[in-house]
Symmetry: C2
């Protein structure tokens, strides 16, 4: 597989293909042509074929794609054939939503522990995982290598936590704090900046009104 | 202002500029050059100048940008000089996190009401807003024009709600359901697909390990 030159735009579309394929499989669809996939996903058929060619094409075009095979292959490219262990930092509403979202577990994302600063939460459980004091986060990660640290705390605390864990044997940070975190190159970071998303929506509203 | 040809990539960066400028202003920085901004944001200075040129340039380059002026101007482009009214559909952990996030209110995003299917929640309040039965959503929106409907419910319900509100006088949908919603063209949609984000992170981990 030639994964070297995969652009960000293609990578952005992989989870979307994966999502639509899951729905098709659940509906009992076994084969689908790039034309049909194109119609459902509002992406051109040539875009789809081009995207799939990055990964070897996934089978005969004329005959259509086998949905289960395509789903599994895209899953492998996305690394979903392996389990990922996670810890949550910040047991607020957002963090609780993330842990409670059981879909993640089905896909092999397993929360091992949660951390918070609030003494009342320490020792309690959240969907079956134990809440530890955030002061023990670094020590925990040093003893228990974990793949992904989920940061769901305010930005003023997030930067300090990021610095603390930057020397720990973790692979990635899923960051919900409203700031970009300074992490070493070997630690992958994926940001979910909810305010940025809301501002883009506000921009679309303004632009749509200016057009009228 | 020539807003017509602004690419998605530039629009994606506007909230990021806005966020960094807010931090700079809070730190007391009154002027900044594109070089300094470049260093902080890890974007090239020429990219920054190019982005700003889409909107008229925002002032003298040699002398640097006035941070407050730049912040205000980008805020206007993003439509943040106007208030936006919102309703929440789905009072789970995620929805509660969104309503509780008071930053939104500071920027003029005001929740007016919440809706849920759970009879135990109906009539209660969430951060000062009243929770109504979701069966009254359409009627509410017909009587009370609202700018943004926030959808934070499972995908099987989200599609039905989307169909119901598609004829209501709303401007936009901020969608957290794990599916793409079929909305008419005049209603703007911004998706936050958390699973997609987590899969991208998983992809980065896999890719980083393959490289080693």
């Amino acid at each position: 597989m030639e994964e070297r030159e995969i652009s960000r735009a293609v990578v952005e579309r992989l989870p979307v293909y994966y999502r639509y394929l899951r729905d098709l499989i659940d509906e009992g669809v076994e084969r689908i042509s790039s034309q049909e996939l194109s119609r459902i996903m509002h992406v051109t058929a040539s875009q789809i074929r081009q995207d799939f060619n990055h990964f070897g094409g996934f089978g005969q075009q004329g005959y259509g794609y086998n949905t289960q095979y395509l789903y599994d292959e895209i899953g492998k490219i996305l690394g979903l054939d392996e389990e990922h262990t996670m810890v949550l930092v910040g047991v607020g509403n957002l963090g609780s939503a993330l842990v409670g979202y059981m879909n993640y577990r089905k896909r092999g994302f397993i929360f091992k522990a949660a951390f918070d600063i609030d003494p009342e939460l320490i020792g309690q459980e959240l969907s079956g995982i134990r809440i530890h004091p955030v002061s023990e986060l670094k020590e925990y990660l040093m003893k228990n290598p974990v793949d992904i640290v989920v940061i769901a705390i305010p930005k003023q605390h997030a930067v300090r936590v990021a610095e603390e864990i930057s020397s720990c044997p973790i692979k990635a940070v899923w960051n919900f704090a409203h700031t970009d975190l300074p992490m070493p190159e070997q630690i992958q970071v994926e940001n979910v900046h909810l305010s940025d998303s809301l501002m883009k929506l506000s921009y679309s509203i303004r632009r749509n009104e200016t057009r009228k």
